[in-house]
């Protein structure tokens, strides 16, 4: 496996990396939700600075974060422009047909821009600082209440970790089959859609067949080891909750308080 890295995990040793995956996931989801309730510039300034602080704490270069924004920047700018052009109110600078550029509109456009950038930054912090395996464990932990409704959460968790575990193997295998095809003169990434589809079949077919065999062998092994779906399992990797995780969640409560105060006192 050469240049293909799974996910965007960026190994590093920082406070943010060491936080529990569950705390990070909950905090990130909560933060994104909170962003939709801010309606004052000061609120955005505050959460913006908070985000920059968190990014700084990951000890990852800013350029890595900027890279995450790049594919979406046009969509974000377009969205912000729309907000500017279709929001009236305040001092009107330009008015042309249905479009207006007003002071109110410029503010709303700026808020929209900020909100999207912050969503991307904070979710980038999450995925850069958390291993996919830890993140799936965290997702599983959050889904646990569904167990009471009869949802097979543990089976799902098992499947998530098997999938993650096999992605590198499958990538390897795919590369090998593609190399074998290249050796026979096939060039990938060229030609019409129909031509590319034809090249796909000889790659996919052996891979499917080997995946099926592998699944079967693995199921045999698990049966031999007496795996019972539905039984309580213990885990090799354990997520541990520290004081710093509770502090991280408390900071979310603090941010909420700031946003509420700013929204109600500033007009």
């Amino acid at each position: 496996m050469k240049s293909l890295i799974l996910g965007r995990y960026f190994p590093n040793d920082s406070i943010i990396h060491r936080l529990d995956a569950r705390a990070k996931l909950v905090a990130a989801l909560y933060f994104i939700g909170l962003l939709f309730f801010i309606d004052h510039g000061l609120g955005y300034l505050f959460v913006g600075l908070f985000t920059l602080g968190v990014m700084y704490l990951t000890k990852i270069r800013l350029s890595v974060f900027i890279k995450g924004v790049r594919p979406l920047i046009f969509l974000i700018l377009f969205a912000a422009m729309m907000r500017v052009l279709f929001t009236g109110g305040g001092e009107v600078f330009v008015s042309w047909g249905p479009f207006t550029i007003s002071s109110q509109g410029l503010w709303v456009g700026l808020f929209t821009f900020m909100r999207f950038i912050l969503i991307i930054f904070i979710s980038t912090v999450l995925t850069l600082s958390t291993k996919p395996v830890d993140l799936t464990d965290a997702i599983n932990a959050l889904l646990k209440p569904l167990r009471k409704l009869g949802v097979p959460v543990d089976d799902f968790a098992l499947m998530l970790s098997i999938s993650l575990r096999f992605i590198p193997n499958l990538l390897d295998e795919t590369q090998r089959v593609m190399d074998a095809q290249r050796a026979r003169g096939v060039i990938f990434g060229e030609g019409t859609i129909v031509e590319q589809m034809k090249k796909l079949v000889p790659i996919v077919l052996p891979l499917f067949a080997s995946s099926l065999n592998r699944a079967e062998e693995m199921a045999d092994v698990m049966d031999v080891k007496n795996y019972q779906s539905g039984e309580k399992r213990t885990h090799f990797r354990q997520l541990t909750w520290h004081t710093s995780d509770s502090i991280a969640l408390l900071m979310m409560v603090g941010l909420t308080a700031v946003v509420i105060v700013v929204n109600y006192t500033m007009v």
Binding site: M82, M159, I162, I167, A209, M218
Partner: protein, 197 residues
């Protein structure tokens, strides 16, 4: 003696991993739009699971795929509802193709290729149509939060249609070809059963 449930769980997991691999490999997808929305082959393994294991397998594989995209950080989420619609929901609904699993399998067993292709096309169409609806609504939710009274409905329709329509044709052709070449893929017969027969 093999527990069918264990095999089911593992097969769905490995095929879903395979879906992610097909999406990750740069040569194997055509990016039409910068913000995702690519015509990749990721749906093929999900449909294969759906036709092998029926509705339950299809839905599970799709949901797993959507969740994996979020866990590996390849998902683009800009709005909570849009995120849910674009990832877990959009891929889960692909699994409805599994409703056609019994008829597709019977047609293949009877060597009735015309009927087989017809049911296969219907199943894939059902899955992709629902995925389309899900992305379409996600697009509307996303833009509704920005603009009032613009033709967002049309925009979302054109954008999502532009990559799902070619994806539909590609999926039918590739899956049909795979199954006709290797009926074993579809019928889900284990090694033991074949040896016994």
């Amino acid at each position: 003696m093999q527990s069918k449930r264990t095999l089911f769980l593992i097969e769905v997991a490995i095929f879903t991993a395979f879906a992610l691999v097909l999406d990750l490999l740069p040569f194997l997808s055509f990016r039409i739009w910068a913000q995702g929305g690519s015509v990749s082959f990721a749906m093929i393994p999900i449909f294969i699971v759906a036709f092998r294991w029926g509705l339950k397998g299809g839905l599970l594989s799709g949901f797993l795929y959507g969740t994996l995209q979020i866990a590996t950080g390849t998902a683009w989420i800009m709005h909570p509802i849009q995120g849910a619609l674009d990832y877990p929901i959009a891929f889960t609904v692909l699994g409805v193709a599994g409703l056609f699993a019994p008829v597709v399998q019977r047609a293949l067993k009877d060597n009735n290729h015309k009927l087989f292709a017809g049911y296969l096309a219907l199943g894939v169409l059902a899955g992709i149509s629902l995925r389309f609806v899900s992305h379409y609504l996600a697009g509307v939710v996303f833009f509704e939060s920005l603009i009032d009274g613009m033709n967002i409905w049309v925009y979302s329709l054109v954008y999502n249609g532009s990559y799902l329509l070619p994806a539909y044709l590609i999926n039918i052709i590739v899956i049909g070809y795979l199954f006709i070449k290797r009926p074993k893929l579809m019928l889900g017969e284990s090694k033991d059963k074949q040896q016994a027969a």
